[in-house]
């Protein structure tokens, strides 16, 4: 097996005074779609926020292709090709769609034309609306913009925090098929979702988090048919 693009070892993170992540270890192999599932408060967001550098861990390490990036600042993490699409999209409402995309490429100094074309080919709707203020887009379009903005940094690893949150089922299906498309084009995906069913269907590997601990792992297909998972997360 190749060296994983991301290796998390014994990560402990505090959030609001409590231990949200209690020592988890997992790998994200290059080129795959990996998902962390679990209920509210399981520590999923804290894990992603720590990898992105927004939160400093209490202990443990995050390694990107062998390089220790634990506790580095967010800009250093983005510069190394790891980008987070935050929960709730968090697009800049007063900036145009085009500006939102350009700010995603903030650290880059090269020409953006090819990347803009790439993002517009993935999300033709954004091209039509490139002069509109981000805040005027619908929820689904804002999610596309948030993903497109993250892609503008040319990530090797794209992390997504609840991309389906608050979106209509049809729109969720669109977003997930685009996630698969992005993955096919060579971007590794680390996805966290409460919509476990959708996430496991497209994931190569799934990890199940419960109150800050990893309790189960397997391929997406394995977890989908696991009785405990069905009961706890798939509503069956």
């Amino acid at each position: 097996m190749r060296e994983p693009i991301l290796k998390i070892s014994d990560l402990k993170v505090n959030y609001g005074g409590i231990e949200a992540v209690k020592g988890i270890s997992f790998d994200v192999p290059e080129g795959e779609i990996v998902t962390l599932i679990g209920s509210n408060g399981a520590g999923k967001s804290s894990t992603l926020r720590t990898i992105a550098g927004l939160v400093k861990p209490v202990s443990g390490s995050v390694a990107l292709q062998g390089e220790d990036i634990t506790g580095k600042d967010p800009d250093a993490i983005v510069a190394r090709g790891v980008t987070l699409v935050p929960e709730g999209r968090r697009i800049f409402p007063d900036m145009t769609v085009l500006e939102n995309l350009k700010i995603g490429a903030y650290l880059r100094k090269d020409d953006l034309t090819d990347d803009l074309d790439w993002v517009f080919s993935l999300f033709p709707r954004l091209k039509e609306r490139s002069w509109q203020a981000g805040g005027t887009l619908s929820g689904g379009e804002q999610q596309m913009l948030a993903v497109g903005r993250a892609l503008m940094s040319r990530p090797r690893l794209l992390m997504m925090d609840e991309p389906s949150l608050g979106l209509a089922p049809l729109v969720v299906r669109d977003i997930f098929s685009i996630i698969q498309e992005i993955n096919k084009q060579g971007v590794t995906i680390l996805l966290i979702e409460q919509n476990a069913n959708m996430a496991l269907k497209i994931a190569d590997i799934g990890y199940v988090l419960e109150t800050g601990r990893l309790i189960l792992s397997g391929t997406g297909a394995e977890l989908l048919v696991n009785e405990d998972i069905k009961k706890a997360y798939l509503g069956a």
């Binding site: 992105a52 550098g53 927004l54 600042d73 967010p74 800009d75 983005v78 510069a79 980008t83 987070l84 935050p86 968090r90 800049f92 409402p93 007063d94 900036m95 500006e99 350009k102 700010i103 995603g104 903030y106 650290l107 903005r149 940094s153």
Partner: protein, 291 residues
């Protein structure tokens, strides 16, 4: 008529000087949600530095040096007194700002020994000129022109450059800006640098009209510029500029009547009225709190 022209001209000029201070208040508020109480005192320090430097070197050397040192002062204040409190409650930062304000006033008191310092006569801008029959100084004419040019340059910087885009992003959302790779501390420093620079330019134009500088010289113009920023809608640069011009003009017009003693009262009555009637000001955002 001649009297009216002369009052309007000085009103516009005073308004422009307030505008240069008000921009610093409004930009810092826009990004940090902090009323930087020390800003008026930075303005005063620029005046005191100018007095001391012009005594030992030619005016043409002391002006640029004063601008650089004032910018440095604004930068250092942010790094030393506000940055360590980035994650603290907003109230702590505000108290720190009040502390810096008193510190600067007392440093100035120490440096000047409490004696009013005679502001140097600046070449050209202190010279007399007659506009539409009204005798005045060149500074009165230059101020509004310079203010408009500086504001246009600032608007260009904010809307059409990368650092400007970063400033707009940080003003909206700290965390998401970080996820874009923006170093927020650098953006905040740039904001203080711009604000201090404009206050320094403002001090040159303002103190030229007055014989002396004292440690409290920054307090009143600072307060009025703050009212202007609130009037225009704090966080909005065009708002602060328009608010400053209105306050400067009205204040000067009142000074030309028999109600002179009420000219300051007008400004503060205006503050109370805005806060009661339209707290967001002329151009303010509706939601002043961050999500």
């Amino acid at each position: 008529m001649q009297f009216f022209v002369s009052q309007i001209l000085s009103g516009i000029s005073l308004g422009g000087q307030y505008a240069l201070i008000a921009i610093g208040y409004t930009m810092v508020y826009g990004i940090l949600r902090l009323i930087n109480f020390a800003h008026g005192d930075v303005f005063m320090c620029a005046g005191v530095m100018m007095v001391f430097m012009s005594a030992s070197m030619p005016i043409y050397a002391s002006i640029p040096l004063m601008l650089v040192l004032t910018v440095l002062l604004g930068f250092v204040i942010e790094r030393a007194a506000y940055k360590p409190l980035r994650t603290a409650p907003r109230m702590s930062v505000m108290i720190s700002a009040i502390g810096v304000s008193y510190l600067l006033q007392n440093l100035a008191l120490y440096a000047t020994g409490g004696q009013p310092q005679t502001y140097p006569t600046l070449p050209f801008i202190s010279n007399s000129v007659t506009i539409l029959g009204a005798p005045t100084h060149w500074v009165t004419v230059i101020t509004p022109v310079l203010v408009v040019l500086l504001v246009l340059a600032l608007q260009w910087l904010i809307n059409h450059t990368k650092i400007g885009m970063a400033m707009r992003a940080v003003a909206k959302d700290f965390e998401t800006s970080q996820l874009m790779g923006i170093k927020i501390n650098r953006v905040i420093s740039v904001t203080f640098i711009i604000g201090s620079f404009l206050a320094a330019v403002g001090s040159l134009l303002y103190f030229t009209n007055y014989p002396t500088v004292v440690p409290l010289s920054g307090a009143m113009p600072g307060l009025k510029a703050f009212v202007a920023a609130v009037f225009g809608g704090i966080g909005s640069i065009p708002g602060a500029v328009i608010g400053a011009f209105i306050i400067g003009i009205v204040e000067t017009l009142i000074k030309g009547t028999s109600y002179t003693v009420f000219s300051d009262a007008f400004t503060f009555a205006l503050l109370i009225i805005i806060l009661v009637v339209k707290p967001t000001g002329l151009f303010g955002e509706r939601a002043t709190d961050k999500v």
